[in-house]
Amino acid sequence: MSNSTAAPEPIIELRNVTKRFEDNGFIAVNDFNLTIERGEFVTFLGPSGCGKTTTLRMIAGFDRPSSGQILLGGKDISKLPPNKRPVNTVFQRYALFTHMNIYDNIAFGLKLKKMAREEIDKKVRHVLEMVDLEGFEERSVATLSGGQQQRIAIARALVNEPEILLLDEPLGALDLKMRKEMQIELKAMHDQLGITFIYVTHDQEEALTMSDKIVVMNGGEIQQIGKPEDIYNEPKNAFVADFIGESNIFKGIMTGRMKVRFCGGEFECMDDVPEGTQIDAVVRPEDVIITEPSKGTVTGKVTGVVFKGIHYEITVESGKYEMVIQSTRTPKVGDEVGMCLDPDGIHIMIAEDHTTRFDADVNEDYSLEYNGKAIDADITKVVKGSVLKDGVLKDSSGETIRPENLKIHVSIEPADIEMTDDTEKGLTSGEIINLIYKGDHYSYVVRTANGHDLIVDDEYLWNLGDMVGLVMPAEKMKFTLAK
């Protein structure tokens, strides 16, 4: 029954699906493209607010996409109401009908289909057996534990024999042990039934354990789609590397064929990236080998050792970099150690361009402004060879340039933007929505009030959700003229 036997056949397809909420203009899902094959176990994984639940709700029919199409078996269903779609949902808080007993809860969908009483009885009994709650028909919802309610919610959805089962963080409210058990049971159910499961979670371990395919999301966009192993071993960008498992991320540069320099040392790697390319190197804590100082590619001083059960988590400071290592060896705090990496323990990601770009406004007096705040830049330096005399700007050939004819692009690097507590200070301000530690600094994603995401590098630790002012020194800005 497993999907390995059948040839891949797409069951649901999302094409350029975008969801913008009418009331606040927030874009929850942006240009989402995905094909899911019949019988697959697909997981949408991401932090809260990444758009995973909204995507699921659009597949279920509770939300309509603002644009784009959702195709089920080749037919566009994006305008169909939920009750006309052959999909069923297991809700986060179960959403069981408290005024009905268990039998009526499960039979709800079947009764609407006007199925014969005996048929309903048989199906309800069968599905209760499947979730291991035989004989619970007459019980009321209130007498059930959280885990039992969860099973009933699954049974209520499965009894309708949907083509796709949607699960919205179904195990979120259960305790750890129960969650582990349910993960295994859900996976077994999926294998046994052969129907398509779409599962939403923020728990990366859950996603890695259960899925055939993981869709990592952030900020309403797909970051990576792939098998659990691929997502873990070959993360496409720093976000995925940071979100899936633990990782050390370093900025670095390719120094030769399959040679890379980061963290103060030169390493051999498996990725063939042209020399001179700026990269992010991902090193999983379990892949770092601790050696004698003389044998290590880089050396450092142990600053912390924490016992984690099967291994120790060791923090080593090497120059200005910090490396987290998982090892069964137990150096002491203060020890000098060497660190080595096997080539396949290094994953190279080509660094993304994180330059912030915007257009400056030019005032009547040729002063520059953005967002109503002055940019302290000399216009004659921006417009090469120009002279400002008596309030009129003339180019090198003496021609007058009107302020409204000037279009000036400004760009600034992440490391040159300073963050401050004072949100009034600086050109703009925003909320920190994501942060990743990159060995010697943090890389922050700051979302401004008008929804732009800026990347800012800062040595110091700020918290998620902090409101910060972004100071951009004019001397660090690059100005270019547009024609």
């Binding site: 009331d23 109401p81 939920p82 069923n88 949902t89 009908f97 408290t98 005024h99 709800f108 609407l112």
Partner: protein
Amino acid sequence: MKGMFQRKYLGIPYALYLLVFVVLPLIVIVTYAFTDAEGNPGVGNFLNFFRDPNTLGTLVYSLVIASVTTMVCLLIAYPTAYFLAMSSIRSKGAIIMLMIMPMWINFTLRITALKELLTMIEGNLALHPFMNSVIGMTYDFLPFMILPIYNQISRIDKSLLEAASDLGADSRQAFLRVLLPLSMPGVISGISMVFLPAMTNYVVLDMLYNSTYIMGSLIGSYFSAYDWHGGSTISLILLAMICIFTLLAGGDENEGTVRGGSVL
């Protein structure tokens, strides 16, 4: 232990209040109801009540007025409460405020205003006693119907409606099978807060120059004629009816009644 003793003493004022204003009057009423004018015990008063076509007629008339008033209130209140609770409009708070506000205005003033308004429309109020009774009471009791229903519907987890539609229910089926049953505690609470006062609140009718008699007016008339035995009997009958009604409304629904009423 000392704290426990002190806390117990806090109940004394209320116990006294209960004794003086509830228990003793009840004993007095029961005593009067089961004795005749000479003080001989018996059930003669009750027989008189049920044999007299006039008093029975008043009872039936009260029931009819109260039922119609309750129905009208329910028909206005349920859709109002439903749309208020389900919508996400910003001015929701203001609209609810507008509905509660009449309750802040002095009762006499409110009914006098209504009387003037009705006189303007109808001319002689005495021509439509039944309709005016219903209008007056609906006007007075409507907020008591809207609020418990609104509270109950607001409390319903909206994902239950999504679940219903996910399982194949169209919006009508989702309403009938999920929302309506779950909102029933609010409805029952509203009914008991409208139906019972509507049986007895004859002040509204008096002020509308209404000649119709309801149970409240009947009791009033007996007591003003110094027939304490007859008045007590009718009070006791009414009390029994209220008890029966409350029991019929369902023991476990009491929780909803209390919660629904608590906002008022």
